[in-house]
């Protein structure tokens, strides 16, 4: 992908603005990383707690560039047949049957065995050819005409072997298929890898990527995010609810509320016509923010300290 084709990524400011127009408010750090990934043609490994918008980043970039988003969800046991390519066995089998029937016509008039074999060789080896190749996400991303965003989601869930499989793709943007050869990407795709840090990613993989750690956003940034997603909400309430979510994140919770949950909560408050945060509103809507019974209990017992002070003026 080149800058002239994608002026959306020509500068860091352009990226920030572009993302914002799609409702993705990002910190300068994120925009810098995307800019560099594009300019240097490097994959980005995005890490951070769940729900801070790692996957969303890739989706928004795809929207911004108007190129297809090709997503590969990783899981334990994911192998190259599901990630890279597979042979169309059914068609291959059919092909052998057809070939057998046509064999008589093909060898008609051949003098002796030697000539028959020679004719067979002339026939070409279509058995392992691109027609019989079923591309899976990784290969598909290489074949896109206009480039693509390749999202390798939750790479930490895959096996170590799979990581080594990724190395060739990430450093050279090519795929080796033993029966055919190497397939080079038509247009270098932009690659996002996300990880929730359930295990350490190997050094070899990290070395090939730019690393972006997205933490929970600051209060100001999160307010902007809520504003862009739930524009109708009252400013006072918006501030209060974001402050409250931030104080929840300081508690010892099994799962801290993520940005998506803040947005959901803001929407719920809007639906309930809440004007201000008070104990009753919070208690009745806490299940939107927190997904574990224990967490809800913890938050409820700490509610008194967490409750925003009554607003002045």
């Amino acid at each position: 992908m080149h800058t002239q084709d994608f002026p959306q990524l020509a500068s860091i400011e352009a990226i920030e603005q572009g993302f914002e127009s799609f409702g993705y408010i990002c910190s300068p750090k994120i925009a810098t990383a995307v800019f560099l990934a594009f300019q240097l043609r490097k994959p980005i490994l995005v890490e951070g707690p769940p729900g801070v918008g790692k996957t969303e980043l890739a989706k928004t970039t795809a929207m911004l560039l108007d190129v297809p988003l090709i997503r590969l969800q990783c899981y334990e046991g994911l192998d190259e047949a599901k990630a890279l390519y597979e042979w169309k066995y059914g068609k291959q089998l059919l092909y052998t049957q057809v070939l057998k029937e046509k064999l008589g016509d093909l060898l008609q008039g051949a003098q002796g065995l030697a000539e028959s074999v020679e004719r067979l060789h002339q026939f070409g080896d279509t058995f392992y050819s691109e027609e019989f190749l079923e591309p899976r996400p990784l290969l598909k991303a290489m074949q896109q005409e206009r480039g693509a965003i390749l999202l390798i989601d939750e790479v930490d869930k895959s096996d170590y072997e799979f990581e080594s499989l990724l190395l060739e793709i990430l450093s050279d943007y090519q795929v080796s298929i033993p029966e055919i050869g190497t397939v080079q990407a038509r247009v270098t795709p932009m690659v996002f890898l996300t990880s929730n840090n359930t295990r350490d990613i190997s050094d070899a993989l990290k070395r090939r990527c730019l690393h972006l750690y997205i933490p929970f956003p600051s209060v100001a940034l999160e307010e902007r995010i809520v504003l862009s997603r739930v524009p109708d909400i009252d400013q006072q309430l918006r501030h209060q609810l974001v402050e409250f979510v931030h104080s929840l994140r300081d508690l010892d919770l099994k799962k801290s509320p993520a940005i998506s949950e803040t947005i959901d909560w803001a929407r719920s408050l809007l639906l309930l016509h809440a004007r201000e945060l008070d104990a009753q509103v919070i208690q009745s809507t806490l299940n939107v923010l927190l997904k574990f019974e224990d967490d809800i209990n913890t938050a409820e017992s700490a509610l008194r300290e967490l409750l925003p002070r009554p607003a002045h003026g």
Binding site: A33, L40, G77, W87, D159, D200, K206, R207, Y213
Partner: protein, 484 residues
């Protein structure tokens, strides 16, 4: 910024910065160094916050590394420009003149009156003195006179590179490096002229001497900063190195915490390198060639499909640790290592013994490390009886030993002249893939007194002396490699 000299100087700064990161235990590969250069070239040096974010993306690969990166970045880049203007202000106020403009733009501004008079004084003196004239036209003096802090900093950076300032490790080296840097910057010419002017009692002496003092002060500060930057990480690494090489029994208690960290880091590293996940038997890919070949017998009808299977052997590790009094000092660390290894490798079973033997895997799994080690010592500590312990081991685990099992024995083989039960050791040897004996005693001591080591050696694939962390790491690394 596009000036070639400046960008190459920035590049060498960047390399120094990466060196600094490395000394703070951030692993940066040469490929990442190149990435960092690309990043800097793409982003430019104009916006520091951008450069910081960009370099962080290329160099720091974990949140912990990023924290170190931020710390190093602010210390390294923010202090890079030495402040020549402060001394300049001082000079201006000394002579009672108006304060001269400071900051990087000062160089391009018209010179202050104070400088002007000093320059005039020097120039008049130089008219009759060819030597002084030559000195004044030298780049160093010009930069000092113009107060061109950017150029002077550049010169200091170059001088630092040429004398290898980044190698500074000890505070005793500071004076020496300052001297060598000054020489590299061409201060000797200035020094010689000063001596001569002093004898002649020239009026140019005073302004010239001031320039020299400014220069010296700045270089001294520069060296000091470099020392602080370099030595901080280096000292920690030196300490780690030392601890690794010290005999485990000699390690003092106060370092134990640190050793614990080291051992855990080591175990994690080893496990990462050798991790094998348990995997169920997979159907695998269709093997077209074989399927066709099988079909030939049925007149080309593909009756049976043939699948390429991927079978992984599942290495199993059994570790037996002697915790008796004779090896108490080692045992503590060996247990620590076992504990860490079990933490990071999927199939480790740990056993401890002295007079009798028991499995401690569960203990390790349930308790935090300190508590677990204490419990093991309490439960299994005492006088050594290898014979009885091997019997216990055979009862507990002999049936589980197969061709993919590795057995590690950690102990000194001192059996208090009891029955060594060599036949059990033999059967372990025959069944397992590998038996490895790590003995904390030096090889020369094997077989002396009540040591049964030579006899047990016949039932080991590999035996080694192991009494510090480096040896331990090397051996376990080898062992895991063989295990694949």
């Amino acid at each position: 910024m596009a000036e070639p000299t400046q960008s190459s100087a920035m590049q060498s700064h960047l390399v120094n910065f990466i060196g600094l990161l490395r000394s703070h235990d951030v692993r940066v590969s040469p490929a990442e160094t190149l990435d960092a250069m690309d990043v800097a070239a793409t982003l430019g040096y104009a916006r520091r916050d951008r450069l910081r974010d960009g370099l962080a993306a290329a160099l720091a690969k974990t949140p912990a590394e990023e924290a170190i990166f931020q710390h190093c970045f602010s210390r390294f880049f923010d202090q890079r420009l030495a402040d020549f203007s402060s001394t300049r202000e001082e000079r201006a106020t000394q002579t009672g003149e108006q304060e001269a403009p400071s900051g990087p733009e000062a160089a391009s501004m018209p010179k202050g009156d104070a400088d002007h008079s000093a320059a005039q004084l020097l120039e008049t003196a130089a008219q009759t003195d060819a030597d002084l004239q030559a000195l004044l036209t030298s780049p160093l003096l010009r930069q000092l006179q113009d107060n061109d802090s950017a150029a002077l900093n550049l010169a200091m950076g170059e001088a630092a590179a040429s004398v290898g300032l980044s190698q500074i490790r000890m505070f005793t080296q500071k004076g020496q490096f300052t001297r060598r840097m000054l020489d590299a910057m061409g201060e000797d010419q200035l020094r010689r002229t000063l001596v001569r002017l002093d004898q002649e009692d020239s009026p140019a002496l005073e302004p010239l001497r001031r320039y020299r003092d400014i220069l010296r002060e700045q270089v001294r500060d520069y060296v000091e900063r470099q020392y602080l930057l370099q030595a901080e990480g280096e000292n920690a690494r030196f300490m780690d190195d030392l601890l690794r090489r010290t005999r485990l029994s000699n390690l003092e208690l106060r370092y134990q915490h640190r050793v614990q960290e080291l051992v855990q880091r080591m175990a994690r590293k080893l496990a990462e390198r050798h991790a094998r996940k348990r995997r169920t038997y997979r159907r695998g890919k269709l093997d077209m060639g074989r399927t066709l070949r099988r079909g030939i017998a049925n007149d080309g009808i593909l009756f049976h499909t043939h699948w390429k299977r991927t079978q992984k052997n599942k290495p199993q590790l059994l570790a037996i640790c002697d915790v008796s009094g004779s090896v108490a000092a080692y045992a503590k660390f060996l247990l620590l290592f076992l504990y860490s290894l079990q933490d990071v490798l999927p199939k480790v079973r740990s056993f401890a013994f002295s007079s009798h033997l028991g499995e401690v895997s569960e203990l390790f799994a349930q308790h935090p490390v300190d508590k677990a080690i204490e419990l093991v010592n309490w439960r299994y500590g005492g006088a050594t009886d290898y014979g009885k312990s091997l019997q216990d081991f055979a009862r507990l685990a002999l049936d589980d030993i197969n061709s993919s099992t590795t057995v590690i024995m950690l102990g000194d083989a001192r059996n208090n002249h009891g029955d060594p039960q060599l036949d059990i050791m033999r059967s372990i040897y025959q069944r397992s893939r590998r038996v490895i004996w790590l003995n904390p005693e030096s090889r020369r001591a094997w077989g002396t007194g009540d040591s049964e080591m030579p006899r047990y050696l016949s039932a080991c694939h590999f035996a080694a002396e192991c009494n510090n962390l480096t040896q331990l790491e090397r051996i376990v690394d080898q062992l895991l490699k063989m295990n694949r």
